[in-house]
């Protein structure tokens, strides 16, 4: 076989392989660089008007959920969070919401209607969302007792994922002081 006959498959095979690799991947799944890194510190006001920061939750497994009242997929995962809040009530576990691109009164009404006693922070300039590299809602970050981001979930959280991740984070030994990096964006959000 001459080199000319080999040339076409030699060029075509890598290109087809590259296209096949690209086409078989879900374009909505974007790899986040944050898992494994310290969670960014932030503080803001809750929907009830209280000040709360991530540093206040030191030593706890924090499930940080970005949500909005206009987000349909957020309805699906909300019952998972309600179940988790009950199931881990006596453990070092804290659900924490951050309202994304929404008005506080709408978010407050939504929480009242849907239930759940955990705090949700307002994020007026989306500084917390930008600091955490949020693409849209719902997005959830699982932060370990050591202050490291263990997992980022794009899209709704299901019961199995929630239990698997929170159980493993609660069981994980804390090697040092919990840490959180300070935000370059200055995530000190104001009130609603």
């Amino acid at each position: 076989m001459s080199w000319k006959k080999l040339l076409i498959p030699a060029l075509a095979i890598p290109i087809v392989a590259l296209l096949a690799y690209g086409l078989t991947r879900d374009p909505n799944i974007v790899e986040s660089p944050l898992p494994g890194r310290p969670a960014f510190e932030f503080s803001s006001q809750t929907l009830d008007g209280e000040d709360l920061g991530l540093s206040d939750l030191k030593g706890k497994v924090v499930v940080l959920n970005f949500w909005a009242s206009w987000c349909v997929a957020c309805i699906d995962e909300h019952r998972v969070f309600i179940e988790a809040e009950r199931y881990y009530a006596d453990r070092e576990f804290q659900m924490l919401g951050v309202v994304y691109q929404d008005e506080a009164p709408n978010a407050r009404r939504w929480m009242e209607r849907m239930g759940g006693d955990w705090p949700s922070l307002v994020d007026p300039a989306s500084r917390i969302a930008i600091d955490y590299g949020v693409y849209g809602v719902p997005e959830t970050y699982f932060i370990g007792k050591d202050g490291l981001i263990a997992h980022k979930q794009i899209g709704p959280v299901n019961s199995m994922l929630m239990k698997q991740l929170v159980d493993s984070l609660l069981a994980a030994p804390v090697t040092g002081e919990p840490s959180a990096t300070s935000s370059a964006a200055g995530t000190e959000a104001g009130g609603s």
Partner: protein, 160 residues
């Protein structure tokens, strides 16, 4: 109901549906209004830097648009943040690094020329070079075939 009444109801329902469809983006936009208004500053150099940087970054919510071109609330707030960071003395490279640190290289509309990304930059050049080489080889073969045919015809003419 008469035929006329039924037709009128159908038209009213269709018109309502059409209006709702047309108003849907506006309603969605209203729900996602950014909490911080974008106040441009009277500094052309700074504003040019903001525009240049924002046009390099991908809007996280729209994805196909840059932060500069996107009308979404998130893009608007990202432009506010870029402006604030530049005003605080950060260089454009530092501001870009801030976004890459949080979103990964995905946030850059133009991927950096390193590692696997080289395929994005080199593949079009290689394909173009390959195409030109193929055209060159084909053209040379045609010329050679033409010359051979001409020579053959010349020989036949001489024989005649």
């Amino acid at each position: 109901m008469s035929e006329l009444g039924r037709n009128r109801s159908t038209w009213l329902a269709l018109s309502g549906l059409l209006l709702l469809t047309a108003a849907a983006p506006a309603l969605q936009g209203a729900a996602q209004e950014p909490a911080v208004a974008e106040a441009r500053v009277d500094d052309p150099v700074l504003e040019a830097q903001v525009r240049e940087l924002a046009s390099k970054l991908r809007c996280p919510t729209c994805r196909a648009l840059s932060v500069e071109d996107s009308p979404s609330g998130m893009a608007q707030e990202m432009r506010v943040l870029i402006r604030e960071q530049l005003k605080s003395g950060k260089t454009p490279a530092e501001v870009e690094a801030y976004f890459v640190e949080r979103y990964g290289e995905w946030i850059l509309l133009k991927p950096t020329a390193s590692g696997f990304n080289w395929t994005v930059w080199l593949l079009p050049v290689l394909m173009l070079a390959g195409g030109l080489f193929f055209v060159f080889l084909t053209a040379r073969r045609w010329v050679e075939q033409g010359q051979a045919r001409a020579a053959h015809l010349d020989g036949e003419e001489r024989e005649i």
